[in-house]
Symmetry: D2
Subunit: 306 residues, 4 copies
């Protein structure tokens, strides 16, 4: 299929590469052109202008935030101005519910189609085609996109006709992960200050109650205070919590835990967290408890295999 | 081994039965004697007095709360007054860190041994010998208890020499579960009010980011608003959060999320939650959002198997 | 002085009238022209277009929110396009710190001057010229404005050269009042459910610890559950808390109490609070406690004058 | 009247002195006898035993906390064992609602009377007889006590027949003050980090919206970071918030702001606040914002007297 791909960051590069490997006719565009070379060397065409990336049946955008998406979609050289009638814009960025609604209306107004297909997974998962994808849009548009999305993800969850619900699910998912980080951070602060070996404790939890990789991944980061380099930077995590709160304002759903997370991110950023992983909010409970992490480790704690 | 077992509630009955099946010489005691019969018919001796249950090498207590444990342990007819020197009290109830420390000191003062062995799991897991157990106490006492604990649980986590840390880990674990309930409750309130099918959403989450049974179990309870009969009643959940907060006060660790959960439980109990499952705190976000759950379900949301 | 006045709502009308009484040459403008008549009958000129209200030495705007201010200030028929060089825009609306900074830069860019002069007080205070005013801007601009502001307020607090700090002080003040409302709401919920007469309790508090009119005013509203008609509507109060949080994000100051208030406002609006006074957040603690306010009043509570 | 006075701390000494000056026949008792001398030199009798202080018509206790009150009231040498039938115990300490209920029942059980008369005010106010007093108990007992209480306070608020409500009002009052401290702390952190002069800001607030001495007193302490020596130490403030939360649990009233304050006190104590004034919780927002208070003061902010 003839596809344009806009946004070659850490996620987008791997995703675009998978589409190339699957044999699609890919035209790529990035604000800073240095990211184009690896894809061109694998067969992609480099679009000289943004508009040149919008001539196919499908245009995919994978960008950092609302402002970046607004910047490429609207305006005289933008996606909307250049896409053919009937073509489909697949928006895969983590953006606000409000912007997704606005995109849907804008595309519909000029006879184009719009699908929101948000993704869970890190750059490695993107490169491996193992993302989890949530897709929203009209039935026929989703049908067209499904073969493409199958190259990118290991499972696709169809959320229904309203594209913006795919964005809402993405934001709610990041809220759930951040909640998990906060709860682990408080639990580790408590048992750690009391003298329990943090890693043994995590080993117990993840082999019993919480056998999900996210618990192990984030638990280890918090226990090791290993927040640099950031896999997913704190300002981006903060952005997502703010977008979740904005969506909750819109639907009028009080989310006190989301507000607590908001407070945590402001504190983290005020104390130098800009280049830390978002899991560094899980360090705040220990820090506030006066525990700098240098204390003795309880050597006797050990899991006993049976 | 000659074992006394005190406390034949929903958890204790199954645990005692497993010890009988394993061939132990079991004497059982319960405040209300009607619970004794099933065990006696499987070969247990019924203690006529509390003291009669305390003559063996090991005494196990499995009771509701601090007050119940204090009631059987202290006093002239209690566990301490009747246990032989060198015998071991295995305290398996979910009690405060402070009481566990007090028990350790009291037993040590009269030449008895004390092990705290707290458990995760529901009555079914107790009956099946599939509990997760966290054990704290002196190395030699734990060695003696290990064969017994292996009849009760599928894994044993040794926390070290300080028995009260086993209680702390138990409380922190229930804090983590309650946090998970609250976060799911808020996420479901948000996406549900927006029109997403709650069960499809949970199906997506538990097959991707959160493949842990606790997410499925509690997610379904919240999505179905199925809180009666209670598997684990709200007042007990509230008790555990209060004990976690009390422990955090003792170790001086601020836990804002624990405080939020405290607030949720007070609200739930103020609104008739005494006989509800503790997961009913997960309904509060939806209720406060004015969503009574009677709205239309989004029929188009569906997971697409690949 | 030749003054334009834009925005004749409940606050603006009284303020404009005071300027007329003081003998100023006033041209008034309002989006909906029906508000003009009372002022015209007292000697004001009615501007046919927005631009016509911007020809004097000073233009005052008193509007509902950021959007309203942006709507009149920018654009080809707006304040900036029509004000003479050197003239002063006094922005008295409760707007965001960010917009105030943007206004300052925009006016400076075309050689105009900008003063932010925010106000505390209700419509009665506005009509009586008894507002409390916080003014920020260059020294010379403030000097020019001072005689005008003296007609509007009983005191003027100069915040310094940065106009946006006047907006910040306004937002922080409303945060303080909302905090007071929440704290009174919780205290009244507690003592009221326990059987204390709410009015006697307030009488005690306001004659001892808290002899400030705000405690009496808001305490009575909460105790009487008298939230309609709204003096200051909940959506406006919510807007101000959101602007305070946005400012705190900008300066990176965590404000957990502001986040709690955010949650309260979302809950209130989700439950039908759009046309209630903002003090109705003070009813939520009692409502969540299951106390509908119909219980018996403790007749024996009474203040004893000495 | 023949009065026993137990508890000669910073508050009790001044109160006892006022009763002496008014001509009462006072017998005083303190756990550490060195506090007795100043009162004896003004005419008080020193009780050699606790029981000796309980022979009069009235016994007043003014102690630090629940444990101290339980220690003197119960037991064979305690207040209850030694008071004559019909005599009145006036409990003026800040204690829990639950203990006050227990005291009422215990006294009633042996034909004694019980009045809870809680006080607001600092040591200076106690010495000056200027406390604010909240009194609960039977009508006739209160009548007997009123002349005594008038020597101690500038006003007396009768809360009705249930003594424990006087304790509840005291706890709710300290909750309100702590809420005010927290809100001021957040507001000062915000405007201070933005460059507003903290003292000028407080001057504005306390001369306009919040003309109550508590705002000035606590605002100055926070602005000056002047928390030592403590007028009212953080551990005592924490105790009162915990007692307020315990009472709210009993009456089933959710108080999210009280929970937030709980969290603040744990943080303060974890970071070395044991000997700080309780208003030091008002410093936490600034500290968490990374503002150590050493920044430049905005010299241009000034209140303009009109």
């Amino acid at each position: 299929m003839k596809i344009g791909f806009i946004g070659l960051g850490r996620m987008g590069t791997g995703m675009a590469m998978n589409l190339l490997k699957a044999g699609h006719d890919l035209t790529v565009y990035n604000r800073t052109p240095d990211k184009l070379q690896p894809l061109v060397s694998h067969g992609a065409r480099a679009a000289r202008t943004l508009g040149n990336a919008c001539r196919g049946e499908v245009v995919i955008t994978m960008l950092a935030d609302d402002a970046a998406v607004e910047g490429v979609v609207f305006g005289s050289d933008g996606v909307i101005a250049n896409m053919p009638r009937g073509a489909i814009h697949i928006s895969m960025s983590t953006i606000s519910v409000a912007l997704s609604e606005r995109l849907a209306a804008a595309h519909a107004g000029v006879g184009q189609r719009y699908v929101a297909a948000t993704v869970f997974g890190r750059p490695e998962a993107a490169a491996a085609g193992k993302l989890f994808i949530v897709a929203g849009g009209s039935h026929d548009a989703i049908e067209v996109c499904t073969p493409i999305l199958r190259e990118l993800g290991q499972s696709i969850f169809r959320i229904g006709e309203k594209p913006e619900l795919a964005n809402l699910v993405k934001l709610s998912g990041n809220f759930l992960i951040a909640s998990l980080i906060e709860s682990l951070g408080e639990a580790l602060a408590l048992v750690g200050k009391a003298g329990v070996d943090r890693h043994a404790y995590l080993g117990f939890l993840t082999s019993t109650l919480f056998p999900a990789p996210v618990y192990k991944t984030y638990g280890d980061l918090i226990a090791d205070r290993h927040f640099k380099p950031a896999e997913f930077a704190a300002p981006l995590g903060f952005k997502d919590i703010r977008l979740a709160i904005a969506a909750a304002e819109g639907f009028r759903v009080p989310m006190p835990l989301a507000n607590l997370l908001h407070d945590r991110f402001v504190t983290l950023l005020a104390q130098g967290g800009d280049d830390m992983d978002w899991s560094a909010i899980g360090q705040l409970a220990a820090r506030e408890s006066g525990d700098d992490g240098s204390g003795p480790v309880n050597q006797t704690s050990q899991a006993l295999a049976q």
